[in-house]
Protein backbone atom coordinates (compact mmCIF):
# COMPACT_ATOMS: atom_id res chain seq x y z
CA UNK A 1 0.00 0.00 0.00
CA UNK A 2 1.32 3.43 -0.85
CA UNK A 3 1.91 5.87 1.96
CA UNK A 4 -0.80 8.48 2.39
CA UNK A 5 -0.26 11.87 0.74
CA UNK A 6 2.44 10.32 -1.43
CA UNK A 7 1.50 10.66 -5.09
CA UNK A 8 1.15 7.16 -6.48
CA UNK A 9 2.48 6.19 -9.87
CA UNK A 10 -0.23 6.47 -12.47
CA UNK A 11 -0.89 4.03 -15.22
CA UNK A 12 -1.94 5.97 -18.27
CA UNK A 13 -3.74 2.88 -19.38
CA UNK A 14 -6.48 4.25 -21.55
CA UNK A 15 -6.73 4.83 -25.27
CA UNK A 16 -5.41 7.77 -27.28
CA UNK A 17 -8.11 10.01 -25.82
CA UNK A 18 -7.10 9.48 -22.19
CA UNK A 19 -4.75 12.44 -21.98
CA UNK A 20 -5.67 14.19 -18.73
CA UNK A 21 -2.49 15.07 -16.85
CA UNK A 22 -0.20 13.95 -19.67
CA UNK A 23 3.20 15.60 -19.44
CA UNK A 24 4.03 18.50 -21.68
CA UNK A 25 4.05 22.26 -21.45
CA UNK A 26 2.58 23.11 -24.85
CA UNK A 27 0.92 26.49 -24.74
CA UNK A 28 -2.80 26.50 -25.51
CA UNK A 29 -3.49 27.69 -29.03
CA UNK A 30 -6.43 30.06 -28.58
CA UNK A 31 -7.12 30.65 -32.27
CA UNK A 32 -10.73 29.84 -33.08
CA UNK A 33 -12.28 28.92 -36.38
CA UNK A 34 -15.95 29.28 -37.18
CA UNK A 35 -17.61 25.93 -37.56
CA UNK A 36 -17.62 24.80 -41.20
CA UNK A 37 -20.72 23.52 -42.95
CA UNK A 38 -19.53 19.91 -43.03
CA UNK A 39 -18.82 20.08 -39.30
CA UNK A 40 -22.31 21.42 -38.59
CA UNK A 41 -23.69 18.68 -40.79
CA UNK A 42 -21.75 16.00 -38.90
CA UNK A 43 -23.02 17.38 -35.59
CA UNK A 44 -26.63 17.51 -36.79
CA UNK A 45 -26.56 13.99 -38.21
CA UNK A 46 -25.11 12.54 -35.01
CA UNK A 47 -27.55 14.47 -32.83
CA UNK A 48 -30.51 13.22 -34.88
CA UNK A 49 -29.31 9.62 -34.89
CA UNK A 50 -29.07 9.77 -31.10
CA UNK A 51 -32.42 11.52 -30.73
CA UNK A 52 -34.11 8.92 -32.95
CA UNK A 53 -32.63 6.04 -30.99
CA UNK A 54 -30.26 4.76 -33.67
CA UNK A 55 -27.20 5.11 -31.47
CA UNK A 56 -25.90 6.33 -28.15
CA UNK A 57 -23.33 9.04 -27.80
CA UNK A 58 -21.28 6.53 -25.80
CA UNK A 59 -20.97 4.43 -28.95
CA UNK A 60 -19.50 7.34 -30.88
CA UNK A 61 -16.96 7.87 -28.10
CA UNK A 62 -16.05 4.20 -28.16
CA UNK A 63 -15.47 4.32 -31.93
CA UNK A 64 -13.32 7.46 -31.59
CA UNK A 65 -11.27 5.86 -28.83
CA UNK A 66 -10.56 2.86 -31.07
CA UNK A 67 -8.47 5.10 -33.35
CA UNK A 68 -4.73 4.53 -33.25
CA UNK A 69 -2.83 7.21 -31.34
CA UNK A 70 -1.36 8.38 -34.64
CA UNK A 71 -4.76 8.81 -36.25
CA UNK A 72 -6.29 10.33 -33.13
CA UNK A 73 -3.56 12.96 -32.98
CA UNK A 74 -3.55 13.59 -36.72
CA UNK A 75 -7.30 14.09 -37.09
CA UNK A 76 -9.23 17.11 -35.91
CA UNK A 77 -12.15 16.83 -33.51
CA UNK A 78 -14.79 16.72 -36.25
CA UNK A 79 -12.72 14.45 -38.48
CA UNK A 80 -12.63 11.90 -35.67
CA UNK A 81 -16.37 12.22 -35.28
CA UNK A 82 -17.09 11.71 -38.98
CA UNK A 83 -14.82 8.67 -39.01
CA UNK A 84 -16.51 7.21 -35.93
CA UNK A 85 -19.96 7.95 -37.31
CA UNK A 86 -19.18 5.90 -40.40
CA UNK A 87 -17.81 3.06 -38.25
CA UNK A 88 -21.09 2.92 -36.33
CA UNK A 89 -23.27 3.10 -39.44
CA UNK A 90 -21.34 0.22 -40.99
CA UNK A 91 -21.42 -1.72 -37.72
CA UNK A 92 -25.20 -1.43 -37.50
CA UNK A 93 -25.63 -2.41 -41.14
CA UNK A 94 -27.13 0.89 -42.28
CA UNK A 95 -24.48 1.30 -44.96
CA UNK A 96 -21.21 -0.23 -46.13
CA UNK A 97 -17.72 1.19 -46.47
CA UNK A 98 -17.87 0.35 -50.16
CA UNK A 99 -21.02 2.45 -50.62
CA UNK A 100 -19.34 5.40 -48.97
CA UNK A 101 -16.17 4.94 -51.00
CA UNK A 102 -18.13 4.74 -54.26
CA UNK A 103 -20.04 7.88 -53.45
CA UNK A 104 -16.87 9.73 -52.48
CA UNK A 105 -15.34 8.68 -55.79
CA UNK A 106 -18.36 10.01 -57.62
CA UNK A 107 -18.13 13.32 -55.73
CA UNK A 108 -14.47 13.70 -56.61
CA UNK A 109 -15.29 12.98 -60.24
CA UNK A 110 -17.74 15.89 -60.35
CA UNK A 111 -14.97 18.30 -59.29
CA UNK A 112 -12.85 17.44 -62.31
Amino acid sequence: MTAEREPQPRVLAGGPHDIGGAPGENPIDRAEHPQEDWEKLADAVHHLLVAKGHRRHDQLRRAIEALSREDYDRLTYFERRVHASQVLLVESGVLTDAEVADRLQAEVATWR
Binding site: E4, P9, G14, G21, Q59
Partner: protein
Protein backbone atom coordinates in the same frame (compact mmCIF):
# COMPACT_ATOMS: atom_id res chain seq x y z
CA UNK B 1 -21.01 -6.31 -10.61
CA UNK B 2 -20.95 -6.27 -6.84
CA UNK B 3 -23.91 -4.54 -5.28
CA UNK B 4 -22.88 -2.07 -2.65
CA UNK B 5 -24.88 -2.62 0.53
CA UNK B 6 -25.21 1.09 1.15
CA UNK B 7 -24.19 4.12 -0.83
CA UNK B 8 -20.93 5.84 -0.10
CA UNK B 9 -21.52 8.77 2.20
CA UNK B 10 -20.43 12.27 1.41
CA UNK B 11 -17.11 12.86 3.15
CA UNK B 12 -15.79 9.32 3.00
CA UNK B 13 -12.35 8.61 1.62
CA UNK B 14 -12.15 6.53 -1.52
CA UNK B 15 -9.50 5.17 -3.80
CA UNK B 16 -10.03 4.81 -7.52
CA UNK B 17 -9.42 1.29 -8.71
CA UNK B 18 -6.43 0.87 -10.97
CA UNK B 19 -8.00 -1.69 -13.24
CA UNK B 20 -11.42 -2.16 -14.68
CA UNK B 21 -13.06 -3.58 -17.74
CA UNK B 22 -11.16 -3.26 -20.97
CA UNK B 23 -12.73 -1.14 -23.67
CA UNK B 24 -14.70 2.06 -23.18
CA UNK B 25 -14.57 3.44 -19.66
CA UNK B 26 -15.10 6.94 -18.26
CA UNK B 27 -12.54 6.76 -15.47
CA UNK B 28 -9.50 8.72 -16.63
CA UNK B 29 -6.06 7.13 -16.32
CA UNK B 30 -4.58 9.98 -14.30
CA UNK B 31 -6.98 9.21 -11.43
CA UNK B 32 -6.45 5.45 -11.30
CA UNK B 33 -5.12 4.56 -7.89
CA UNK B 34 -5.64 8.08 -6.57
CA UNK B 35 -7.25 8.74 -3.20
CA UNK B 36 -9.93 11.38 -2.81
CA UNK B 37 -13.10 12.29 -0.98
CA UNK B 38 -16.70 11.76 -2.01
CA UNK B 39 -18.32 15.19 -2.25
CA UNK B 40 -21.68 14.27 -3.79
CA UNK B 41 -23.89 11.41 -4.88
CA UNK B 42 -25.10 12.54 -8.29
CA UNK B 43 -27.71 9.90 -8.97
CA UNK B 44 -27.91 6.64 -10.83
CA UNK B 45 -27.14 6.45 -14.53
CA UNK B 46 -26.98 3.70 -17.16
CA UNK B 47 -23.49 2.22 -17.17
CA UNK B 48 -21.61 3.85 -20.08
CA UNK B 49 -19.31 0.85 -20.32
CA UNK B 50 -22.34 -1.09 -21.57
CA UNK B 51 -23.98 1.73 -23.53
CA UNK B 52 -20.82 2.11 -25.59
CA UNK B 53 -21.47 -1.33 -27.10
CA UNK B 54 -25.21 -0.92 -27.50
CA UNK B 55 -25.79 -3.37 -24.65
CA UNK B 56 -28.49 -3.12 -21.97
CA UNK B 57 -27.04 -0.93 -19.26
CA UNK B 58 -27.97 -1.28 -15.60
CA UNK B 59 -28.14 1.88 -13.54
CA UNK B 60 -25.05 2.54 -11.48
CA UNK B 61 -24.48 5.16 -8.81
CA UNK B 62 -22.35 8.12 -9.85
CA UNK B 63 -20.27 10.02 -7.32
CA UNK B 64 -18.39 13.28 -7.48
CA UNK B 65 -14.98 12.70 -5.98
CA UNK B 66 -12.57 15.46 -5.11
CA UNK B 67 -8.79 15.02 -5.24
CA UNK B 68 -5.99 17.34 -4.21
CA UNK B 69 -4.01 18.23 -7.33
CA UNK B 70 -0.80 17.67 -5.35
CA UNK B 71 -1.95 14.16 -4.33
CA UNK B 72 -2.46 13.24 -7.95
CA UNK B 73 0.45 14.98 -9.65
CA UNK B 74 2.86 15.84 -6.87
CA UNK B 75 3.73 19.29 -5.59
CA UNK B 76 3.80 22.09 -8.12
CA UNK B 77 4.12 25.82 -7.90
CA UNK B 78 1.13 27.49 -6.35
CA UNK B 79 -1.11 24.46 -6.65
CA UNK B 80 -1.01 23.42 -3.02
CA UNK B 81 -4.69 23.96 -2.25
CA UNK B 82 -6.13 23.33 -5.69
CA UNK B 83 -8.46 20.41 -6.30
CA UNK B 84 -9.78 18.42 -9.20
CA UNK B 85 -13.17 16.76 -9.14
CA UNK B 86 -14.34 13.99 -11.41
CA UNK B 87 -17.61 12.10 -11.65
CA UNK B 88 -16.90 8.41 -11.11
CA UNK B 89 -19.19 5.36 -11.20
CA UNK B 90 -19.46 3.29 -8.05
CA UNK B 91 -17.73 0.16 -9.31
CA UNK B 92 -14.50 2.15 -9.77
CA UNK B 93 -14.40 3.26 -6.14
CA UNK B 94 -13.28 1.48 -3.01
CA UNK B 95 -13.72 2.95 0.41
CA UNK B 96 -10.50 3.78 2.22
CA UNK B 97 -10.76 3.10 5.95
CA UNK B 98 -7.42 4.28 7.30
CA UNK B 99 -7.24 7.87 6.15
CA UNK B 100 -5.49 10.47 8.22
Amino acid sequence: MAVRPSPLAVGVGVRVRTTGPSGHVRTPGYLRGASGTVVALLGRFPNPERLAYGAPAPLVALYRVEFAVTDVFGPADGASRDVVTADIYEHWLEEVQDRE
